[in-house]
Symmetry: C2
């Protein structure tokens, strides 16, 4: 298969964007992405489009986006894969370019999480993220779901609420310096511990916000990438993963088998054998603070059960073993679901070009999960 | 890019399947698909999965399907692309195999159109299929939308309600012989003309039914295809297309520019220059009778404006220039949206292997749209 690179990236300011519709967000991210291409790119250079979107757009997903961006002469695909929607849109686009059929393609991710009716969001979100038959009727919301994983991790490994709070403190520290972040203020461990309880062990400040946002990246085949930039960032591997759907059937609650499976395949594709040593910077899924801790382990940044120690020792901070979420992560930057994976990819692109807002010095290999 | 073939296909009986949930339908189609592979295939041979689904499953789309099929060790993607969801899932899977990364992949398409709450279906469907801002609030349902195209075609080319009725009669004739069809009874032109008006010019029998269903196909790279079957059917080209989203902005109402764009790209990829002469059999989008007539033209089976004559002359019947919808089409077989494109692909696979229920003798090249 051909090598494929990211050659441009754009992101809008994440937040409660009551003044922007889905189309506005997508367009702004797209235009910023076009402008970011060093040697210039024209809309007519783009041969196909992918959209990462979990819920809904303002109407027919692909048609609406294609129409609003003025890109009607290319095929469009919407990928929906829960919180991996944006990342999996990139994976599909990557494989399509690798096939040799397309040379230059666009991936946009966007989600409107605010100002949608409660019946479309609140319970609807939970309904979509689990199995209607069991988890949904018994009330397993996003927070309740991840809280059960967190409690199991505490039980098995002695992970503490203070260690979880450190994740929030770290990500807010970086988010405060990140122009696109939803929350741009620092918080303390005490702030987290004193914030109202949502679902034990998660207090309010353990939870990522509900955020509107959009991001876009352009991928190009190696053969043409340098027509557009002298510093393309190559994609070495990509995958997605699955686990049992209902909690009562999950065999292991103290890890995310889906992440482990996806990482194993992506690392194999990329030839990564020792992720903790080979990966210089990461954007990873901190929808709740404990999720980040468990994901350190699932991605092989530390041994199983040592995620709490990993954050406590500062290994995921700038200067640590693998700096994580220097963008503020989902916790401070926000988690507009379909946009999240695309925004993570954009941030890793900037990190590996030395252009990030909070830069991991000399980073040459990055990942997002 | 590598050549990619279909090596197996399965389909369930379409209909109002009040006794089956989403998972049941998907599993049945998958098992039939596995069984259809001549030399046998094991679940462990499958390296990745795609799901075509427009609305929703019983919960988290990819997770639920992966879990229920026992295929948790592979990555899964859901593709949503309105009525092209199933076909575009195949396109993404095709490109992924063409890339050289996967050798054998599964595509499942399924949709539950019945026994879902009205708020999830009725208006929700319309809301999803257009732009919220304009078409949706003024009441453009599926039937009203296509009716406007039909009326324009009547105005410009003199297409008649009788010609439209002939499409329904033809597709019911073939559907009556098709074991998987929702409606297995023949109808007459009089039946169509006398059925209650839905949205002029469409009477009830001009409209496809709301049908539950599922279908599955397995794709394999040329290098491995003959390990599984001596009669693989190769995919020569694939694309999708877009047009303006809102009706007030459409430049041409007497054709579907999205179909024309998709066909142009797919024909180019496949090296098809004269579709009417080179294509032996087709499954195409007869969600309403006039849609089939307009699609004859958009796919180049006849000249523009001559779609009415094409059906009248029997050119889309068995023995005609391009036999269309020998499965009964959406009109008689049914239109479970995410399943439709996958079921069309399955039918063309059977046609090109000489195994179809209503066989186009000697068919060597087929298409679905």
């Amino acid at each position: 298969m051909r090598r494929v690179a990211v050659i441009g990236a754009g992101m809008i300011k994440f937040g409660e964007l009551f003044d922007k519709g889905y189309k506005d967000m997508v367009q702004e991210a797209y235009l910023k992405c076009l402008e970011s291409v060093d040697k210039g790119i024209e809309p007519r250079d783009i041969e196909a489009g992918w959209l990462g979107c979990y819920y809904e757009t303002d109407g027919q997903t692909t048609g609406l986006v294609a129409d609003h961006l003025g890109l009607l002469e290319i095929p469009w695909t919407r990928v929906e894969n829960a919180c991996a929607s944006g990342g999996d849109a990139i994976r599909n686009a990557f494989l399509a370019v690798a096939s040799g059929y397309y040379d230059v393609v666009l991936v946009v991710g966007a989600e409107k999480m605010r100002d949608v009716p409660t019946n479309m969001f609140g319970w609807k979100a939970t309904e979509k993220s689990r199995d209607f038959i069991w988890d949904y009727p018994i009330g397993i919301t996003g927070a309740a779901n991840f809280a059960m994983h967190a409690v199991r991790h505490m039980h098995e490994y002695g992970t503490t609420k203070e260690q979880m709070a450190l994740v929030a403190v770290k990500n807010h520290k970086y988010g405060a310096k990140y122009p696109y972040a939803h929350f741009r203020r620092e918080i303390t461990v005490e702030d987290v511990l004193r914030s109202p309880m949502v679902a034990y062990p998660f207090s309010l400040l353990d939870c990522c916000p509900q955020t509107d946002g959009a991001a876009a990246v352009i991928l190009a085949a190696e053969e043409v990438a340098r027509k557009f930039t002298d510093t393309p960032v190559f994609i070495a591997g990509a995958s997605t993963g699955q686990d049992r759907c209902m909690h009562m059937e999950k065999e292991d609650m103290a890890c995310f088998p889906s992440t482990i499976r996806a990482a194993r395949r992506a690392y194999k594709m990329a030839g990564v054998e020792n992720p903790a040593r080979e990966i210089d910077v990461a954007e990873l899924h901190d929808c709740f603070t404990a999720t980040e801790i468990i994901t350190y382990e699932d991605l092989g940044f530390c041994k199983r059960g040592e995620g709490g120690k990993f954050i406590e020792e500062g290994q995921s901070e700038l200067g640590g073993l693998v700096p994580c979420n220097l963008s503020g992560g989902l916790k401070a930057k926000g988690h507009p679901i379909g946009a999240t994976g695309v925004a993570q990819c954009a941030e890793i692109f900037w990190q590996l070009r030395g252009e990030a807002h909070v830069q991991a010095e000399g980073a040459e290999v990055g990942t997002h999960a």
